[in-house]
């Protein structure tokens, strides 16, 4: 009744992909035999070393600043760009050019942009901010221009009918209705940017990510434990905060 021939074929294909992927990734659960070592290793993480707590908190703040600045600057640039990259608002010829540029920007991972910029601009959080910003212009530009295209045409029509100029009509006819979703996308990208800035720290981009990486590489596992704890608390707090703001706005 529910299962047709094509479903069976699909199941066979999926099973084949699962096994193929396991071969390619050396997926082997018997490697967990030495699980005891892991517990012993994690034992070295405790008790936590709190001597460098103030420095760690400062670095966590730096990570937040990187993530916020990178994603906010991206929003600031992506918002007007989106109107030039949406089918219903773009001036003739702009649409394909900008959409293609945005997907090109998006296709370059932040870490690659980061590696290039760190070589050019030197170590530290500044190149990381730029890397996060560039990537997020691509992401937010695409997401927001899709919101613009899906916006209810009614208010835009009303604005044209009162004789408003083209851009005034776009702005008033579209922005208020997509605003909650724009904020949602921004907050989500902000949260992603926090994780990205941790990874960018590994390659010398500063912040708590860089500290975590250095502590790990110098076998100071009791400090690593506290770094990880700080990161977890930070992410949870931001998660609460952004959903609170989102609820207030909608």
């Amino acid at each position: 009744m529910w299962f047709k021939k094509k479903h069976i074929a699909l199941a066979v294909i999926l099973t084949a992909f699962v096994f193929l992927s396991m071969r390619m990734t050396e997926f082997d659960l018997s490697k967990f035999r030495d699980f005891g070592n892991m517990i012993e290793f994690l034992g070295q993480w405790f008790p936590m070393d709190t001597t460098k707590l103030p420095l760690m908190l400062e670095d966590a703040g730096e990570t937040l600043a990187m993530a916020f600045l990178g994603s906010f600057l991206a929003l600031f640039i992506a918002l007007p760009v989106s109107f030039l990259a949406a089918k219903n608002t773009a001036p003739k010829g702009f649409f394909y050019l900008l959409r293609t540029s945005l997907s090109f920007i998006r296709s370059v991972p932040e870490i690659v942009i980061g590696l290039i910029l760190l070589t050019m601009l030197g170590l530290g959080p500044f190149p990381a901010v730029i890397a996060i910003m560039i990537h997020n212009i691509g992401v937010l530009g695409k997401l927001i221009s899709e919101l613009i295209e899906a916006a209810d045409p009614g208010p835009q029509e009303a604005m044209r009918a009162v004789g408003a100029g083209r851009w005034t009509a776009h702005l008033f006819g579209i922005l208020p209705q997509i605003w909650p979703n724009v904020l949602s996308h921004f907050f989500y990208r902000f949260e992603v940017a926090i994780r990205t800035s941790l990874v960018l720290g590994f390659i010398g981009g500063g912040g708590i990510g860089q500290r975590l990486f250095n502590d790990f590489k110098t076998f100071q596992y009791s400090a690593v434990a506290l770094d990880v704890l700080i990161i977890m608390v930070m992410v949870i707090i931001i998660d609460f905060l952004t959903s609170y703001i989102r609820n207030r706005v909608i």
């Binding site: 009614g154 009303a158 604005m159 009918a161 009162v162 009509a169 702005l171 008033f172």
Partner: protein, 246 residues
């Protein structure tokens, strides 16, 4: 005041004409209801009268000016004095009643002045007067999402009123409202029409409303004008021709 000569509209990708060879003249002071089934071309027709839809054939003259050949700025000038109300009200969400009403001034202001929201005290007073005219005093700072359908349409009417319109167009303005509210809205429109000496052209489904309020009734069927005359001349025969299955 508005003159349509042989106006036809064909939408891209469609073989049939949404409206065909419409010849009509409207003069100041007329309150006109346009009847017809869904898909008869009422909406297309009314949208031609302020250039939201351009005719693919024929000419429309507004106050002596040919619509098809107007530049963007001239078209804005026409629209500035043409109020329009809609079935789904088309208000700006998240904005308050007075903010929505003030957007009625966007036709006569620069983009900078519109976007920054720097309105003079006279403009704000005019907006408050329009709000009180439609009976929404006390609701000025409510967000429009919080209003009922009838109240939303009143905001739409106040927005049109602030344009100091010469012509008022309505595209099924009461189709989403209950009969009682629809009557109230029509009473309001009729009073406004009489006070300001407008030319009012409104699409309606409801024959009773048209008969009660209009000076002149036009019926469309498959894009063609099949009746143009006084409401009392529109009898059972005309009703069948307009709405019948044949």
């Amino acid at each position: 005041m508005i003159e349509c000569k042989n106006v036809s509209v064909t939408y891209p990708g469609s073989h049939t004409k949404a409206i065909q060879a419409v010849n009509l003249t409207f003069t100041k002071g007329e309150f006109i209801c346009v009847l017809g089934k869904s898909g008869a071309g009422k909406s297309t027709f009314i949208r031609c009268l302020n250039g939201l839809q351009m005719p693919t054939e024929g000419d429309i003259r507004l106050q002596g000016r040919k619509l098809n050949s107007l530049k963007e700025a001239e078209l804005r000038e026409i629209r500035r004095h043409t109020g329009m109300i809609f079935q789904h009200f088309n208000l700006i969400p998240r904005l308050t009643v007075i903010q929505n009403v003030l957007t009625g001034l966007f036709g006569s202001r620069s983009s900078f002045k519109s976007v920054t929201g720097l309105f003079t005290n006279e403009e704000k007073e005019a907006a408050n007067a329009a709000i009180s005219n439609v009976g929404l005093t006390g609701f000025e700072n409510r967000r429009v999402e919080q209003l009922s359908g009838g109240q939303k349409q009143r905001v739409g009417i106040a927005r049109a009123l602030l344009q100091q319109p010469v012509v008022l167009l309505g595209d099924e303005p009461v189709a989403s409202l209950d009969p009682g509210t629809a009557n109230q809205i029509f009473t309001l429109l009729r009073n406004m029409h009489d006070d300001l000496g407008l030319l009012t052209i409104i699409n309606v489904h409801d024959l009773q409303l048209a008969k009660k309020y209009a000076d002149r009734v036009i019926a469309l069927r498959e894009g063609e004008v099949i009746f143009d005359g006084l409401p009392e001349e529109f009898g059972d025969n005309e009703y069948m021709k307009t709405y019948g299955d044949e």
